[in-house]
């Protein structure tokens, strides 16, 4: 199996809505060993000026990886998930994600580069609310290892 070089420039439209829940923020915060009260206590979050519980800085990965799944699972892409290594990741927050947000992500394939027998694929998710307010931009590169890599 090899990576389809025509992937570059492709985009996948926003699919299902991701509803940000308080318990999910608490669960994710515990999973990354966060202890800041703004993730757990609504009053503490409000004291900082937020509408509701604030998500940790990497929470958007949940939404971004759901968007990435559209590409990884696209039979036309030729990606063998068992050979995928995460190479880099970036989050740019246009505003904080808070409980109650209803988010969608549009996925763009910004780069495909051959690396040995494999390929480096760079994707970008533009995350916004269903109303169209920009919330976060995430970029990620994955290395799909070729045979023997």
């Amino acid at each position: 199996m090899s990576i389809n070089p025509d992937l570059q420039g492709r985009s996948y439209p926003a699919a299902e809505v991701y509803d940000v829940g308080r318990e999910k923020i608490r669960e994710f915060a515990q999973a990354v060993k966060a202890t800041n009260p703004a993730h757990f206590d609504v009053e503490a979050a409000k004291a900082l000026g937020h509408k509701d519980l604030v998500a940790p800085p990497t929470f958007a990965i949940i939404v971004a990886q759901r968007a990435d799944a559209q590409l990884v699972q696209d039979p036309d892409a030729g990606i063998d998930f068992s050979r995928v290594v995460h190479a880099d990741q970036r989050f740019t927050h246009h505003r904080a994600i808070v409980a109650g947000d209803r988010l969608v992500a549009e996925l763009h394939v910004d780069g495909v580069r051959a690396m040995g027998g494999g390929a480096m694929i760079t994707t970008r998710s533009e995350i916004s609310t269903v109303e169209g307010e920009k919330v976060a931009t995430t970029t990620s590169s994955i290395l799909v290892r070729g045979e023997g890599q």
Binding site: N36, P56, V85
Partner: protein, 148 residues
């Protein structure tokens, strides 16, 4: 107390922390994030794809490493940008049933750059496990209030 912009200098260390990691932590992160790749919880699968054993999710390490920045800033929403490269896997040994950690991640945060116009600080993270840098170019941009 939250930091103020005026008291920061480039090169200043703001905090450091050691994070104990167990196999159970990886199972929790898998559930919380939805990333169920078996290289993060199944030894036989991990070794079958030429890994030395079960490794932590890169995103677990990235997510845990930034917590001292969130705590230092006071408000996690002050972290407006955060990036990293994943250079080495964090091998997590099976210590189930003991109180031992399966891996220890050491994080040191220093002020890498200051932008007086935007009132932001770039916080550079040094993230080590088993004597190796596991993240590179790990940088958080943090909004910092002025003294008055």
């Amino acid at each position: 107390m939250s930091p103020t912009f005026e008291e920061l200098t480039v090169g200043q260390e703001i905090d450091s922390r050691s994070i104990d990691v167990t196999r159970q932590d990886l199972v929790k992160y898998a559930g919380a994030s939805g990333d169920f790749n078996p290289i993060h919880w199944n030894e036989a699968f991990a070794t079958s794809v030429e890994l030395p054993g079960v490794i932590a999710h890169g995103m677990f390490t990235m997510g845990a490493a930034v917590q001292l920045v969130s705590d230092w800033a006071g408000d996690p929403a002050a972290v407006v940008d955060y990036q990293t490269r994943f250079t080495k896997p964090v091998l997590v040994t099976d210590t189930t049933g003991t109180s031992e950690a399966g891996a220890v991640i050491d994080v040191t945060a220093t002020v890498g750059a200051l932008d007086a116009e935007a009132r932001t600080a770039r916080i550079d993270l040094t993230v080590m496990a088993a004597g190796q840098k596991v993240l590179m170019k790990s940088q958080a941009i943090v909004k910092v209030a002025s003294a008055n």
